[in-house]
C-alpha cells in the first residue's frame, strides 16, 4: 500500500548492464528518454529490449549501472514503489476480477477510497465502460489490450511501459490500436516507452526510436532520421529495404565525398559519410532510384548498363530488379504515376539518384548486407 513518490522528469539509464550467467543481455546502456515523449525500443528478439524494459519496471535488477527518473534514483526500489506501470505482452489481466476491479487495482493499492470517477474516466478513454462488470475471459484480444492500457494509465504513472502490447492482435486491429495508443499518449501526456520488434509500429508511433542489437543501441533518432540516414547495415536492413554497393572513397570535393563504385564515380554529402576508412558500402533505398531508358541523360549520380530481370506490380508502385554489369541485382521502386518509362523484362536501363539520398556505411561493417 506504499504511495509511490511523486517523481517526475526524464528517464535516465546510466551504464546499465544486465548479465544472466555468461550471457550479457544488456551491455553498458546509457539512454535519456525525455519527459512526455513516445519512445520506442526496436530490435529483433533477444536484443535486450525486453530486459531493458523489465529493469525500468523493477522486475529485473541491473547487474550494474543506475536508473533514475528526474533526480530520483530508482535502481534499488521495488516494482511497487516505482511510479511506473507496464502494459504486459499477454496483458496479464487478473482473471478473477471484473474489468472495473482490474482497472481499480492500482488505485486501491495506493489507498485511494473513491475510485469510481477515475476508473470510469479511463474506461471511457478506451471506450469500454459498458464492459466494466465482465471478467477478462469474456473479452476479445483487442478489448483486453485496451483494458490493460486503461489499468496502467489510470494510475497516472511518470512512465508507462509497453511490452509488445500489440503483438497478439491481427493486422487491422493493430493499425487501429496504433492510432489509439498514439492518441491516448497525447491525451494523457505521460512518457511512453514502447518495446517492439515491428519497425512499422515503432516508426508510426514513436517520436524517438532506439534500434537495439546484441544488448546495445545501434542508433537512436527520429523515425525519419533512422530511415534516411542509417549509420549501420543492421539499422538500414531493420528499417525498410536497402541496396548496398561496395566501393572505395577517392577523395573530397567541397562538402561532398567522391566514391568509386565498380568504376563509376559518384558523390554524396560529407554529412552522410559513416565510413571509417576508404572501404565504403553505399546505400540507396529502392524508392530513391529513378529508372531511365538506356542512353537517355540523367541528373545526379548515374549508374549505366542495367538490365531488368524481374518486374512485380504492387499497385501503388512497381518493383524492378535490375542487374548491373558487376552482376549485382539492385531493387528499384517506381511510383505508378506515369513518371517512369514503360519497361519490360530484358530492357537496358540507366539508374540515377540524388546524391543527398545516399547513405555511406563503413565497408567493414560486419552485419550481413543484403
Amino acid at each position: 500500500m506504499s504511495e509511490p513518490k511523486k517523481v517526475q522528469g526524464d528517464l535516465v539509464l546510466s551504464h546499465v548492464t544486465k548479465s544472466f550467467g555468461d550471457f550479457t543481455a544488456v551491455d553498458d546502456l546509457s539512454l535519456t528518454i525525455p519527459k512526455g515523449s513516445f519512445f520506442a525500443l526496436l530490435g529483433p528478439s533477444g536484443c535486450g529490449k525486453t530486459t531493458t524494459l523489465r529493469m525500468i519496471a523493477g522486475l529485473e535488477e541491473p547487474t550494474s549501472g543506475t536508473i533514475s527518473i528526474g533526480s530520483t534514483d530508482i535502481t534499488d526500489t521495488k516494482p511497487y514503489e516505482r511510479p511506473v506501470n507496464t502494459v504486459f505482452q499477454n496483458y496479464a489481466l487478473f482473471p478473477h476480477l471484473t474489468i472495473f476491479e482490474n482497472v481499480a487495482f492500482g488505485l486501491r493499492r495506493r489507498g485511494i477510497k473513491n475510485v469510481d470517477a477515475e476508473v470510469e474516466r479511463v474506461l471511457n478513454l478506451v471506450e469500454l465502460s459498458h464492459l466494466k462488470s465482465r471478467k477478462p475471459g469474456q473479452l476479445s484480444g483487442g478489448q483486453q489490450q485496451r483494458i490493460a492500457l486503461a489499468r496502467a494509465v489510470v494510475n497516472k504513472p511518470a512512465l508507462l511501459l509497453l511490452d509488445e502490447p500489440l503483438g497478439a492482435l491481427d493486422l487491422k486491429l493493430r493499425r487501429q490500436m496504433q492510432i489509439e495508443l498514439k492518441w491516448i499518449q497525447t491525451e494523457v501526456g505521460i512518457t511512453f516507452v514502447h518495446v517492439t520488434h515491428d519497425q512499422e509500429e515503432a516508426m508510426t508511433m514513436a517520436d524517438t526510436v532506439a534500434v537495439m542489437n546484441n544488448g546495445r543501441i545501434e542508433q537512436m533518432g527520429s523515425p525519419a532520421e533512422l530511415y534516411e540516414n542509417p549509420r549501420t547495415v543492421f539499422v538500414a536492413n531493420f528499417l525498410g529495404q536497402s541496396n548496398f554497393i561496395d566501393g572505395s572513397i577517392e577523395g573530397t570535393d567541397g562538402d561532398n565525398v567522391i566514391a568509386n563504385l565498380h568504376g563509376v564515380r559518384i558523390v554524396f554529402p560529407k554529412t552522410r559519410n559513416n565510413a571509417n576508412g576508404k572501404a565504403v558500402k553505399v546505400g540507396i533505398r529502392p524508392e530513391k532510384f529513378r529508372l531511365h531508358d538506356a542512353g537517355s541523360s540523367a541528373a545526379g549520380n548515374v549508374l549505366t548498363g542495367g538490365i531488368i530481370t524481374d518486374i512485380s506490380f504492387f499497385g501503388v508502385s512497381t518493383q524492378y530488379m535490375v542487374e548491373m554489369p558487376w552482376k549485382q541485382e539492385l531493387m528499384v521502386f517506381e511510383q505508378n504515376d506515369g513518371g517512369a518509362p514503360d519497361l519490360a523484362k530484358g530492357d537496358a536501363v540507366t539508374l540515377s539518384w540524388e546524391p543527398q539520398f545516399t547513405f555511406a556505411l563503413d565497408g567493414t561493417d560486419p552485419s550481413q548486407a543484403k
Binding site: S2, G58, L59, Y80, T86, N90, A92, P95, R110, R151
Partner: protein, 298 residues
C-alpha cells in the same frame, strides 16, 4: 442451390451424432460400474434402513416394515458421535489446510529443481497401507514410544499421562492421513497461476503480502475448496483413526456404524446412520460451495 445446402447441413450433423455415440460408448464402463457398485448397494441400504427385527428374533433376520422412525432413533441415540465426527473432521481439515497451503506454495513457487522430488514425497505415504501408517502412529505416540518418553523426560508430560487414546491423537491421525488430499489440489491450482499476474500485481503497487491476498489466494481458491472437501468428507466418516489412536470416548460415527454392522448385527440402524451421515455431509458441502461461489472462480 437449396438441395446443396440441405446436403451440407446433413453432413455437418452426421459427425455430431457420431461424436455423441462415441461419448456414450466411452461412458458405458463407468456408468455400469457405478450402477453395480454404487446405485444398487445404495438402494439396498435404503431398503434395509426401514426394516425391523424378524418376529423369530434370529440374528441377522429383518423384515421390511417401513419403520422410518429408525432414522430418528439412530440419530438421537448417537448424537454425540455425530457431533464428534464433524468436529474432529473440521479441526483436522483446518490443521491440514494450515500445513498443506505453505507446503503446496513452497513446492509450486520455491522448489526449483526439487519440485518433482517433493511431489513424490507428498504421495510417498500411499506406498504403504492406511492401516499400517495409522498403526505406526500408535507405536510412535504409544506409552512406550519415543514421543511420550521424550516429553516425560523433559517434564512436559506427567509420568502417568499418555498421548494415545485422546482426541489429540485421533485428530493428529486424521490430519496426517488426509494431508496429501489437501496438498495436491492446492499445489495444482497454485502451479497453474501465471507468474506474470504476480508481476503485474507488483507493478500495480501491491507488495508481496497484498499480492498474496489479492491475487495468489483468490486464484488458488478452487484448490483450497477441492482439498478441504477431499479431507473433510472422508475424515468425517473415518473410524480407523478413532479405533487405533483413540478410546471409546473418542469414537466417531464411523465406529458406531462399524460396530452396528459387524458386532451388534443391527443392519437397519447401521444403514440409517450411514444415510444420515451421507445427507449431512451433502448438505454441509452444498452450503460450503454456495458460500464460496466456486462457479465464479476461475
Amino acid at each position: 442451390m437449396a438441395l446443396a445446402h440441405a446436403e451440407v447441413g446433413n453432413k455437418a450433423h452426421a459427425p455430431k451424432k457420431r461424436a455423441k455415440r462415441i461419448a456414450y460408448f466411452l461412458l458405458a464402463p463407468g456408468l455400469t460400474w457405478l450402477l453395480i457398485f454404487f446405485a444398487f448397494p445404495l438402494i439396498n441400504l435404503a431398503e434395509t434402513s426401514t426394516k425391523t427385527p424378524a418376529p423369530t428374533f434370529e440374528t441377522g433376520e429383518f423384515v421390511q416394515t417401513f419403520r422410518f422412525s429408525n432414522f430418528v432413533d439412530a440419530f438421537v441415540n448417537n448424537q454425540e458421535q455425530f457431533f464428534r465426527s464433524f468436529l474432529y473432521a473440521l479441526i483436522a481439515t483446518l490443521f491440514a489446510l494450515a500445513i498443506a497451503y505453505p507446503l503446496a506454495y513452497a513446492i509450486a513457487f520455491r522448489s526449483g529443481p526439487w519440485k518433482n522430488l517433493m511431489l513424490i514425497l507428498v504421495v510417498a505415504p500411499f506406498f504403504t497401507s492406511f492401516l499400517l501408517r495409522t498403526l505406526a502412529w500408535k507405536q510412535i505416540l504409544g506409552a512406550e514410544g519415543p514421543v511420550v518418553s521424550a516429553l516425560q523426560f523433559l517434564g512436559i508430560l506427567p509420568p502417568e499421562a499418555t498421548i494415545t487414546a485422546t482426541a489429540f491423537s485421533v485428530i493428529l491421525g486424521l490430519t496426517y492421513n488426509f494431508l496429501p488430499f489437501m496438498t495436491l489440489p492446492i499445489y495444482a491450482s497454485l502451479d497453474r497461476i501465471d507468474y506474470r499476474l504476480l508481476e503485474a500485481s507488483g507493478d500495480l503497487y501491491a507488495n508481496g503480502v497484498t499480492t498474496f491476498r489479492k491475487v495468489t489466494l483468490p486464484l488458488s481458491a478452487p484448490g483450497v475448496v477441492a482439498g478441504t472437501l477431499l479431507t473433510f468428507i472422508p475424515a468425517s466418516g473415518d473410524y480407523i483413526n478413532a479405533q487405533l489412536l483413540g478410546s471409546p470416548e473418542n469414537y466417531m460415527i464411523g465406529n458406531v456404524i462399524n460396530s452396528r454392522f459387524f458386532r451388534v448385527v443391527d443392519y437397519p440402524t447401521a444403514a440409517a446412520l450411514s444415510f444420515i451421515l451421507m445427507a449431512t455431509i451433502l448438505v454441509l458441502v452444498v452450503i460450503y460451495i454456495r458460500r464460496l461461489g466456486t462457479d465464479e472462480l476461475v
